[in-house]
């Protein structure tokens, strides 16, 4: 029997020369407990899982490292530079992350504003250039600005990650147009990072033709993170399939679906 899934002809997502099983990437922050986090990640089907670099708590009053809960042989650990407000800080965190010994990928964030967590694109470009020279595969969190996206690609970013809306906001894809433009103009993968709130947001985002989505709060802050992770998996697949299928043109007038001939007198 042909299932819906096998009917979709797609190529796998490839970033920085590496192929991944899922177009959905998930974070590991803000879950109410580690058991829920692990079950949600499993339900999402994600292979790429993001982590942050922080000081070890020497007094053991806080939770231990995420690797006590997540099998690094099963998931691809993508370290981020979240919380860094300068290129130098982000470079420092990226180097520490690589030293953990898993891979040379980094989700590069250089934040420019505390309230909105919008990126400092100048610092982002600077850090991208340095890290690419050092052999990193840089996945750069950026805004919807096309010119910045083009510069990031020129600087050697392995993927460009425009936001759907601010980090942790759950507002969904506020403006599909610039994201679509970035996807059309870039050769490297475009992965929307941040802002997705619920399954329809993920579906709509994937329908724009982007290569993937990274989300964290949408799962962690859902009433039931595991069920939401399942919904997101379906939504990402549905949105991707709809993009590949090619939607019908929009019309502003009705066009009947049933024959206009053969009506009774």
């Amino acid at each position: 029997m042909t299932t819906a899934v096998t009917a979709v002809r797609d190529v796998p997502l490839t970033v920085g020369g590496r192929t991944f099983a899922s177009r959905l990437m998930v974070g590991t922050g803000k879950y109410r407990d580690n058991a829920t986090m692990v079950r949600a990640i499993e339900a999402s089907g994600a292979e790429i899982v993001t982590v942050a670099v922080r000081r070890v708590d020497l007094d053991r009053t806080r939770e231990e490292g995420v690797l006590y809960h997540l099998d690094p042989r099963r998931f691809f650990l993508l370290a981020n530079t979240a919380g860094c407000y300068s290129a130098d800080d982000a470079i420092r965190y990226a180097r520490l992350a690589r030293e953990a010994g898993f891979n040379e990928f980094i989700k590069l964030e250089v934040i420019g504003d505390q309230e909105t967590l919008l990126p400092d694109v100048q610092g982002l470009l600077e850090a991208t250039r340095v890290l690419v020279r050092e052999g990193f595969k840089v996945m750069a969190y950026t805004n919807e600005d096309l010119v910045t996206a083009l510069r990031l690609e020129e600087a050697g970013a392995a993927a460009v990650m425009p936001l759907a809306s601010p980090i942790g906001s759950g507002l969904g894809l506020l403006n599909p147009f610039p994201v679509r433009t970035i996807k059309r103009r870039l050769s490297v993968p475009v992965v929307v990072d941040a802002g997705v709130g619920t399954a329809s947001d993920a579906c709509l985002t994937m329908e724009q033709g982007v290569d993937g989505i990274l989300m964290n709060t949408a799962l962690a802050a859902a009433r039931d993170p595991v069920t939401m992770a399942h919904a997101m998996r379906l939504a990402v697949d549905a949105g991707r399939a709809a993009f590949l299928a090619g939607r019908m043109p929009r019309r502003e007038v009705a066009v009947p679906s049933s024959p206009t001939e053969g009506m009774l007198d």
């Binding site: 974070g27 922050g29 993001t50 982590v51 942050a52 670099v53 922080r54 939770e63 953990a100």
Partner: protein, 74 residues
């Protein structure tokens, strides 16, 4: 067992002053803190020290040591 008093020095570990034995290696510092060197990345005075070298680098008074690992994040 008989042992002479170990002389200690003060270093900053993750931003907090802590006493460590004089001439301790970074590997010994980790062991004293009960940390598995495979799960921690060590920065010593702003320079990353790779795991194989942890036993070769000795700390000095006033050194800044950062011990980091992966935590949940998005």
């Amino acid at each position: 067992m008989t042992q002479t008093t170990v002389e200690t020095i003060t270093v900053a570990i993750n931003g907090t002053s802590r006493p460590v034995p004089r001439d301790a290696t970074l590997l010994e510092v980790l062991a004293a803190l009960g940390l598995d060197p495979r799960l921690v990345v060590v920065e010593h005075n702003r320079r990353i020290v790779r795991r194989p070298a942890l036993g070769d680098v000795r700390v000095a008074a006033g050194d800044a040591i950062e011990l980091v690992h992966f935590v949940g994040g998005g």
